[in-house]
């Protein structure tokens, strides 16, 4: 379940939570299948978003975005380190070990930064 904006509703979606008007009156019950008729009701009551079954909540969506961001950042670290070590022969065990450790340190400090940024 998750919140979804009205213009993204597709006919056939099922309400995960009841919808109330701004005054608190029950408009649609939980489990109600949404059709053109229900959409009209929601529009006329100026409801902006509803909770429906089967989709990720917007919170989950944010999490997905931050995961993607992290992946981008990870790729960036990877690319930086590859460039830095590009002239080092791959069979140089000591240098490859340094490369591995440096990458782990960079990833760790990025995660630290995030944790501090969010907390």
């Amino acid at each position: 379940m998750g919140l979804i904006e009205l213009d993204k509703i597709e006919p056939g979606m099922v309400l995960a939570k009841p919808v109330y008007s701004h005054m608190g009156a029950l408009l649609l019950k939980e489990g109600k299948k949404l059709t053109e008729r229900e959409l009209l009701i929601l529009e006329s009551w100026k409801i902006k978003e509803v909770d429906v079954e089967g989709i990720e909540s917007s919170e989950d969506k944010d999490k997905v975005v931050s995961d993607q961001l992290e992946k981008e950042e990870l790729d960036k670290i990877e690319a930086e380190i590859e460039t830095k070590f590009s002239s080092i022969p791959k069979d140089n065990n000591i240098m490859m070990e340094i490369k591995k450790i440096v990458k782990a340190i960079k990833v760790e400090s990025l995660l630290e930064e995030k944790k501090h940024g969010n907390g």
Binding site: K84, F85, I88, I94, M95, I98, K99, I101
Partner: protein, 284 residues
């Protein structure tokens, strides 16, 4: 054609700020060589310079230097605790930044990056020295701090040549040393050696400055040069701006380092270099 070596040597000798290390360092060096000097004598000379005292105590108490588990509150205590040579090296470490200051605006970031790398390499040298139980880790700290000092002389006294060198590095993707050879016919290790000789630094420190790219050429100071060489590789690997120089196998063997020592050393370096930069070269 860039500035030739003789002209540079002349300039180094003539420049007031470079002509001697800070007076206090010379005094401290002289006193240390005099067997009659006591810790109290030395402390009283250092104490005349209040700014220096503040800096010394700040560093002596900082986590990366860890002079003592107790708080070091006086110079007398610091001298007694550290010993003469470490005190002398510490005086040099906190004074060196003030010798170089009149820089072109366009090179300011380069200079900041330069000092950050130098401090990181100093910390790395000290960490390696401690991990192999080298007798004098403070001198290795100074050697690491000064290993690239020739670059800062180039930036300050020959900025036009330095910019040319940077252009060559970028356009040909070659090392700084090769680019310097192309523009100047000599490199920062030669310039650093000149300054070290002029400053009357220990032959071990001068060898570290001169040979840190080619440690297998070292004879008397093989251990010291190997430490700074390895420290330079570790420092560059943690920074993001330059390509990592390759570790010389002979240096690694001389130090008898083990591959599983790398992770704790690099983690310690990451942590302590941030602390050391904050203490020695704070953002203004």
């Amino acid at each position: 054609m860039g500035m030739d070596k003789d002209t540079l040597w002349y300039k180094i000798k003539k420049m007031n700020s470079l002509s001697t290390l800070p007076e206090i360092y010379d005094r401290v060096s002289d006193m240390i060589n005099d067997p009659k000097t006591s810790a109290a004598n030395l402390a009283s000379v250092i104490s005349r310079d209040e700014t220096l005292v503040a800096k010394l105590l700040r560093v002596a108490n900082s986590p990366f230097y860890k002079a003592s588990p107790e708080k070091v509150t006086s110079i007398t205590f610091a001298v007694a605790l550290l010993g003469f040579n470490a005190t002398k090296n510490l005086v040099l470490s906190v004074s060196i930044f003030d010798l170089f200051h009149t820089f072109e605006e366009s090179l300011k970031l380069t200079v900041r990056g330069f000092w950050k790398h130098s401090i990181t390499c100093a910390v790395a040298s000290k960490i390696i020295a401690q991990s192999i139980r080298y007798k004098n880790p403070e001198e290795m700290f100074v050697s690491g701090l000064l290993h690239d000092i020739g670059k800062i002389v180039e930036i300050q006294y020959m900025p036009e040549d330095f910019k040319k060198i940077i252009n060559v590095i970028n356009s040909k993707e070659i090392s700084m040393k090769d680019a310097e050879e192309e523009v100047l016919k000599y490199s920062h290790t030669d310039v650093g050696k000149m300054l070290g000789v002029h400053w009357n630094l220990s032959p071990r420190i001068i060898d570290c400055v001169r040979l840190h790219h080619i440690p297998d050429k070292a004879i008397d100071s093989l251990t010291e040069v190997s430490i700074v060489h390895t420290a330079n590789v570790l420092s560059h690997s943690l920074e993001l701006d330059y390509k990592v120089p390759i570790l010389n196998e002979k240096a690694w063997e001389i130090l008898n380092l083990k591959i599983d020592m790398l992770e704790p050393m690099l983690k310690q370096l990451k942590k302590e270099s941030i602390e050391a930069i904050a203490v020695l070269f704070p953002k203004k």
